[in-house]
Symmetry: C2
Subunit: 160 residues, 2 copies
DNA sequence: CTAGTTGCAAATGTTTTGCAGTCTC
DNA sequence: GAGACTGCAAAACATTTGCAACTAG
C-alpha cells in the first residue's frame, strides 16, 4: 500500500549500518510485527500473518523468520518475551525498558504499561549495589479490571 | 546421615496434605534443590545432581523430575523462571515475590535481591488501575560489581 | 490390596543447522 | 561476480505422554 513507511526506513538504515542486506524476508517480518502493533506474536503466528499480508512475495520459511528475528533483536528492533514457561517465545517491537508487561491470567491479554517504576529500580540498584543495569524485565501477572468486573476468575486461556 | 531435615518434613506434610505420596523421587528432587541452595537449575542439571547425591537410591528419570517439579510448583514449594528466552526453564525453591532476580550478563550468576520495589509496584498497580496482582516477575540484567571491577566486558551495553 | 508413581520409550512441539540455489550489493 | 540470504529438510532440544511394572499407604 505505502511505498516506504518511516519504520521501513529505520529498518533499512539499521541493516545497512550493520553490514547486513535488505531482503524481502526481513521487510516482511518487520512489517508483520508492525501490523500487529503491540501484540506479542509467536514465530508461528508471525509466519502465518506474513503469508497473508505479503501475498505477492509469497510465504517466508519459519527458519528465516527465526533467523531474521535473531538479527532484529541484535539490532535492538525487536524483543523476545516468554509469558508462560510452557509457551513458545513471543516477539514484539522493541520498547523502552520503562514499559513493562501486565498480563491478565484470566483473559490472557498483555498490556504495556509505562511508569517510573523501572526508573526507580535502576536508581535503587545503581546507588546501592554497584550493579550496572543493562535491561529490566518486569512482568506482572494478575486479573485485569475488566475480568474482575465480569467475575471471571477461573482463567480460561484466550486465542489471541 | 541426617534422618529428616526441617525442609524434608515440610515436603512430607505438604504432600500428604494434598493427598499425594511421599516417594524417593520427590524427596530426591527436593533435596537436590536444597543442596543447590539458591541456584537456578535446569531439569538436566537437577537430574544429574540427583544421580550423584542420591547414589544409593539410583538415578531419577527426567520424566519423573518434570512431573515432580510440576507437582512441587502446585504446592508452592518451587518456582520456575526463564532467564533467557533460548534457555531451558530453570527451577529454584520458592521465594516470596518481594525477591527479584539480578542476573549478571558477564559471569552469568544470578542473585536474589530483596527490597520494597516489588511492594511499590503492587501498590501502584492496585491503586491506579484496578489490576489484581497475583505474581510479580522482575529480572534485572546487567554487570555485577565484581565483573565491573575485573573489567570483564564480554557483552555490549544494551541501551540506556 | 489399590491406586498413585515411576521408568522407559516414543511422541510433540520449538528452534537450529547443513546445503544448494538465489538474490543483494 | 562474490558472498550474504533463503528455503527445505533433517537434526537437536526441551517437555509431555502412554503404558506396564512397582510401591506407598
Amino acid at each position: 500500500v505505502v511505498g516506504a513507511t518511516e519504520a521501513e526506513r529505520e529498518l533499512e538504515v539499521l541493516l545497512r549500518a550493520g553490514g547486513h542486506r535488505v531482503t524481502d524476508a526481513r521487510r516482511a517480518v518487520w512489517q508483520a510485527l508492525h501490523a500487529a502493533d503491540g501484540a506479542h506474536l509467536t514465530v508461528d503466528e508471525l509466519t502465518e500473518r506474513i503469508e497473508r499480508v505479503a501475498g505477492r512475495t509469497g510465504a517466508i520459511d519459519r527458519a528465516s523468520v527465526y533467523r531474521t528475528l535473531g538479527l532484529l533483536e541484535e539490532l535492538g528492533l525487536v524483543r523476545a518475551t516468554q509469558l508462560a514457561a510452557t509457551d513458545p517465545v513471543r516477539w514484539e517491537r522493541a520498547h523502552p525498558d520503562e514499559h513493562f508487561h501486565l498480563q491478565c491470567a484470566s483473559c490472557g491479554r498483555v498490556e504495556h504499561h509505562e511508569g517510573d517504576l523501572v526508573a526507580r529500580i535502576l536508581e535503587h540498584l545503581d546507588v546501592g549495589h554497584g550493579f550496572a543495569v543493562q535491561a529490566v524485565e518486569l512482568t506482572v501477572t494478575g486479573v485485569c479490571a475488566a475480568c474482575r468486573a465480569h467475575g471471571e476468575d477461573d482463567g480460561h486461556p484466550v486465542g489471541g
